[in-house]
């Protein structure tokens, strides 16, 4: 019994939303190639490759920074998922002392202004020899990505439950094996979303990377922000586009990689595809 009218309205809403999201992207693209775009032109008056030339100039070292940034955020994302799965499992399937506290800690970073944590941990990290290091930056990024990872994995862990794993265990599989072969594949959708979300958050961090990384750990965002703040629209747009494309690339690759795994969970509890 399909209600065509409501579907049509929702479709219209969907396409309006997509339009509202896409228009700024097009504008960024135009700005990248703009020389001058004064009133009252609807399209740039003069085009120029200045921004492209400046951004790809060898001295800007854009590819090195981009690559190391991507590697950093990917590491954060993978670690975040692993810790997220572990924590989610503990919170969902077990009872233990301090459970409520851990659950609260999992959302607390969202409730604290970034500068407070950054300035506070900076001094601690200097003492721990973690300042100006990649490891230090990864740790502080994890503090901000874990709330999402834990939350996503909790929802999924809870919906899957223990029963399948228990059945495998009862049938003779070791706890480790039953986790790897039964539960983990069912967690894949959550892993996918978790990696995506964590990567986005990590690559979007600015102030804390600056302070803890001390300028030695260079991320693409740090390269990009001064130009946007200065108001150079052509250069800022060029950087923004590269940032977006590179992030989207990672998300697409994550999608493809997880699709290749044989077990899928699309929300229906006990369904999976055999090859």
């Amino acid at each position: 019994m399909k209600n065509f009218k409501s579907n049509k309205l929702l479709n219209i809403f969907l396409y309006i939303s997509l339009f509202i999201i896409s228009v700024p992207m097009v504008i960024l693209l135009l700005w990248t190639f703009t020389g001058r775009w004064p009133w009252p032109n609807l399209l740039p008056k003069t085009y120029s490759l200045r921004a492209i030339k400046e951004i790809f100039a060898p001295h800007a070292r854009i590819f090195q920074t981009l690559f190391s940034s991507m590697l950093l955020s990917l590491s954060v994302a993978i670690l975040s998922v692993i810790i997220g799965i572990m924590t989610a499992r503990a919170l969902t399937l077990y009872d233990f002392a301090g459970k409520k506290l851990i659950a609260f800690l999992s959302i607390a970073p969202n409730l604290v202004p970034g500068t407070v944590f950054a300035m506070g941990i900076h001094i601690v990290f200097i003492h721990m020899l973690l300042s100006d290091t990649v490891l230090g930056v990864i740790i502080v990024h994890l503090v901000y990505t874990l709330p999402y990872s834990v939350s996503i994995m909790r929802d999924l862990t809870q919906s899957i439950g223990e029963r399948l794993e228990m059945q495998a265990y009862v049938l003779g599989a070791s706890p480790f094996k039953s986790f790897i072969y039964i539960t983990l594949p069912l967690l894949v959708p959550g892993i996918k979303t978790s990696i995506g979300m964590a990567y986005i958050i990590s690559s979007g961090q600015y102030f804390i990377t600056l302070l803890i990384g001390g300028g030695k750990v260079k991320t693409f965002n740090m390269l990009m922000v001064p130009f946007i703040a200065k108001g150079d629209r052509a250069l800022g747009s060029a950087y923004a586009l590269i940032f977006m494309v590179s992030t989207l690339l990672i998300l697409i690759i994550t999608d493809r990689v997880t699709k290749k795994l044989p077990y899928q969970n699309d929300g229906r509890k006990y369904k999976w595809n055999w090859n």
Partner: protein, 290 residues
């Protein structure tokens, strides 16, 4: 299963939790004026007192609350509709979702950049109006940015947050639709009834989490209010930033004190939110814990 297993499993997060608490506490100490690096060694409430007694503080607080509450409520409502649209039109994967993700990826400073490009009196919208003869000069176009009603900032936040709410709630709503939603419709309920009585309530956990995240974020972030806001009154995080870039380094406690107040208000908001939404919760449901 081992009795020790949970404790092993939570080791990483405990470690990170400790680091987090350490950092926050250290940061808060700075707000009480204890920064030995600048020869500030007396613990005092004076910075807090000074800020709270400043007449502009209440204005800033109002601005920040206005921005965060209005933008988050609207973003939540529109976000729910978008999620429903994605679920009912079957676009839970693929290209459409990639476009939605684009909006989440973009940093707020870029949002400010194109907001100005589009919405300013010199922007594309104004130029379209001019071309179609609706206005004669740039000043004919209404001032949407830099105004005391913070319209530009609110729109900027909504642009980013609606996709976020949708992305966050999509998995849950889609799952419920596939199972219970289908069952309900098979039993004869209309789509609308199914949505309002089954799907929406059961998706609330994810929607609620998303709402709280965008509420606290928009209250404490400074990029958009700084670039798109009025010169006075400034939003609280902007005021904190101004103190941070103050050349006299001894102003640092002011920054931290304003941040401390932001933290207090944020927690108050979260607390109020939990109390208000207590009624709608299913007791014992793991989703509902936080």
């Amino acid at each position: 299963m081992n009795k020790k297993t949970p404790y092993i499993l939570i080791m990483p997060i405990v470690l990170l939790g400790v680091i987090f608490i350490f950092g926050v506490v250290n940061g808060i100490i700075q707000s009480f004026g204890y920064i030995p690096a600048f020869n500030l060694v007396n613990v005092t409430l004076s910075y807090y007192k000074e800020i709270l007694s400043d007449p502009t503080f209440l204005d800033s607080l109002k601005v920040s609350l206005q921005i965060s509450v209005i933008s988050s409520v609207l973003a939540a409502i529109l976000g729910i509709i978008l999620t429903a649209a994605l679920v009912y039109t079957g676009h839970t994967e693929g290209r459409v979702l990639q476009v939605i993700k684009l909006a989440i990826i973009i940093p707020h400073t870029i949002v400010a950049l194109f907001s100005i490009s589009i919405l300013s009196q010199n922007g594309l919208l104004a130029r379209v109006f001019y071309r179609s003869g609706l206005i004669n000069t740039q000043r004919g176009f209404p001032l949407l940015l830099y105004t005391k009603n913070n319209l530009g900032i609110i729109l900027g936040y909504i642009w980013k947050e609606v996709p976020f709410v949708a992305y966050f709630s999509l998995a849950l709503m889609s799952g419920i639709n596939n199972t219970l939603g289908e069952a309900s419709e098979n039993l004869g309920a209309s789509k609308l009834k199914t949505f309002l009585y089954i799907i929406l309530p059961l998706s609330m956990p994810a929607i609620r989490k998303a709402f709280l995240i965008i509420l606290t974020f928009s209250f404490g972030a400074y990029d958009l209010p700084f670039l798109l806001g009025a010169t006075v009154p400034k939003a609280l995080p902007v005021q904190a930033h101004i103190e941070y870039i103050h050349p006299n380094l001894r102003h640092r406690p002011y920054t931290m004190a304003i941040n401390g107040l932001i933290l207090a208000v944020t927690w108050a908001m979260a607390g109020i939110y939990y109390l208000v939404t207590k009624k709608g919760r299913v007791k014992g449901d793991i989703h509902e814990e936080f």
